[in-house]
C-alpha cells in the first residue's frame, strides 16, 4: 500500500533538508512509514532515512515535544505522548481505543508466538471452539489467512496481520513480550 508510489521519485526539493522531508512524510503517512519507501521517493539511501528518523525521535524527546516517533509494524509513526492520552481523548471522544476481549487476546497470542496456526491448533491450546472468534479477528483485519496446511482436511493457516502489530504497538513479531518461564510453584518446567 505505502509502497505504491515509491516508483515515482520526485527526489528532495532544492533548499529543503532531508530532515524536513522525512518529517513531512511521517506526518502525512496514513500507515507506518517504511524507510525503504521514503528512501525511494526521496532518491536517497535507506540508511539515510533510518538515521534521520532516529535523530528526529531523539530530537523530539530532547525538545519535549508533544509527539514522538515510534517504530511499529515495520515502519515509523508520529504519535502523541502516552501521558497526554487523557487530554487527546477529552478532545476526541470518538476515538476511544478498542480493547480486545481476553479470548481474542488469547487467540492472537497463540498465532503470534507460534507465528501461525490452524483453527484446530488454536482450539487445542485454548480448549474451546474458536470458529467465531477467528472469523471476527479476520474481519477486523487483525489476522490473515496464509494458505492451507498440507495435512488431511487441508486446514486454513492463520497468522497475525500488520494490523495486529499496530494494535499492540509492536515493531515486529520479534518484539513480542518474552514468555516468562514459570517462576514460582512449578518444579523447573519451562513453558512452551
Amino acid at each position: 500500500m505505502a509502497g505504491e508510489g515509491a516508483g515515482r521519485s520526485p527526489g528532495l526539493p532544492a533548499g529543503l533538508s532531508l530532515r524536513s522531508a522525512v518529517e513531512a512524510l511521517l506526518l502525512a503517512s496514513s500507515e507506518p512509514l517504511r524507510s525503504g519507501d521514503a528512501a525511494a521517493v526521496l532518491s536517497v539511501e535507506e540508511s539515510a532515512v533510518t538515521g534521520t528518523l532516529r535523530s528526529l525521535a531523539e530530537e523530539y524527546r530532547r525538545d519535549r515535544r508533544g509527539f514522538q516517533v515510534v517504530e511499529v509494524a515495520g515502519g515509523f509513526r508520529l504519535v502523541t505522548l502516552p501521558e497526554l492520552a487523557a487530554v487527546v481523548l477529552a478532545m476526541r471522544p470518538e476515538i476511544t481505543p478498542i480493547r480486545l476481549s481476553g479470548a481474542a487476546r488469547e487467540t492472537l497470542a497463540v498465532l503470534a508466538y507460534r507465528r501461525e496456526a490452524t483453527r484446530a491448533e488454536v482450539e487445542r491450546v485454548r480448549g474451546v471452539n474458536c470458529e467465531k472468534l477467528l472469523a471476527a479477528l479476520l474481519e477486523h483485519g487483525l489476522i490473515e489467512e496464509r494458505g492451507r496446511r498440507d495435512v488431511p482436511g487441508r486446514p486454513i493457516v492463520y497468522a497475525p496481520a500488520a494490523r495486529f502489530l499496530e494494535h499492540f504497538g509492536l515493531a515486529s513479531l520479534d518484539d513480542l513480550p518474552p514468555l516468562s518461564p514459570s517462576v514460582n510453584e512449578t518444579s523447573g518446567v519451562r513453558e512452551d
Partner: protein
C-alpha cells in the same frame, strides 16, 4: 451442593481457565493436581452455573468427563504417584497437566500483550479519514499565479453589463459526498443510519448515484461499512471501528 464462591461459567474463557482457577485456589502445584478434589469442585461449578447453553457448555462437559476418567484411572493400583512427585510416563494426569501448563503459559502471554495493548491505546496518530486527505496534508495541486491573472482577465472581459445571469447548478462530487457521509457518520458514532438519510431530500437521480458511489468508495477505504439484508432491501450504513 452449592459452592461458596460460585462463579458464572461465562466468566471463564473455557474449561482450562476454570481448572487453573481451581488449582490456584488450592495453592497446589499443577504437577500434583489432586484430581479427585478438583474434579468434584469442577462439577460443582457446572451444576451451579446459572444456565447451561449447550453450545458453550459442551467443552466444559467434555473436560468433566476427562476429569472423571482420570480420577477413575488413578484409583487403579498402577501408578502410585504421591503428591509432589514428578509425574511419570504412566500418570493418567500427564496429558491434562501438559495442556494446563501450555494454557497457563498462553494466559501469561495474553496478559503481557494486554499491557502492550493498553500502552499502544494511549498513543494517537494523525487521523486520516478520507475526508481529510486534501486539507490534512496541505497538498494542493500547484497552480501558476499567471493562471490567476488569466482568470481575472477573463472574468473582466466576460463581465459586461447586460450579460444574462447564469443560474448556478448544484455541484456535487464524489469527494464532497464522501466528506458529507463521513461527517454524518462521525456525528452518530456507534449508530447505523439508513442510506436514504444520507441523501438530501429532493436530490436528483444523479446526486443519489454520486452519493452511492461515495459510499462505495468509503467502503473500499475501510472507513465505513454497510449492510443490506436482501436485494433492494434497506441499506444500513455505519462507521467502521478503528
Amino acid at each position: 451442593m452449592p459452592h461458596p464462591y460460585r462463579v458464572r461459567l461465562e466468566a471463564f474463557e473455557g474449561p482450562l481457565d476454570l481448572l487453573l482457577q481451581l488449582i490456584k485456589e488450592h495453592r497446589v502445584d499443577i504437577h500434583a493436581i489432586p484430581v479427585a478434589r478438583i474434579a468434584w469442585e469442577y462439577l460443582d461449578h457446572l451444576a451451579g452455573a446459572d444456565q447451561l447453553d449447550l453450545e458453550d457448555a459442551a467443552e466444559f462437559l467434555l473436560m468433566a468427563s476427562t476429569l472423571m476418567e482420570i480420577k477413575a484411572r488413578m484409583l487403579l493400583p498402577v501408578a502410585p504417584a504421591a503428591p509432589g512427585v514428578e509425574v511419570g510416563e504412566a500418570d493418567p494426569r500427564r496429558d491434562l497437566i501438559e495442556r494446563l501448563l501450555e494454557y497457563r503459559s498462553l494466559r501469561r502471554a495474553a496478559e503481557a500483550l494486554g499491557v502492550r495493548e493498553a500502552e499502544a491505546g494511549r498513543r494517537f496518530s494523525r487521523p486520516l479519514a478520507p475526508e481529510f486527505y486534501g486539507p490534512e496534508t496541505g497538498v494542493m495541486e500547484p497552480l501558476p499565479v499567471t493562471d490567476l491573472a488569466a482568470a481575472m482577465a477573463a472574468l473582466l472581459r466576460r463581465n459586461r453589463p447586460e450579460q444574462p445571469r447564469t443560474i448556478p447548478r448544484e455541484g456535487f462530487s464524489i469527494g464532497e459526498k464522501m466528506r458529507l457521509i463521513a461527517r454524518t457518520l462521525r456525528r452518530r458514532t456507534g449508530e447505523r443510519v439508513l442510506f436514504w438519510t444520507l441523501v438530501r431530500t429532493g436530490s436528483g437521480r444523479r446526486e443519489i448515484i454520486v452519493t452511492f458511489l461515495a459510499l462505495l468508495e468509503l467502503l473500499r477505504l475501510g472507513w465505513a461499512d454497510a449492510r443490506q439484508e436482501r436485494c433492494f432491501g434497506r441499506i444500513l450504513v455505519g462507521r467502521r471501528g478503528r
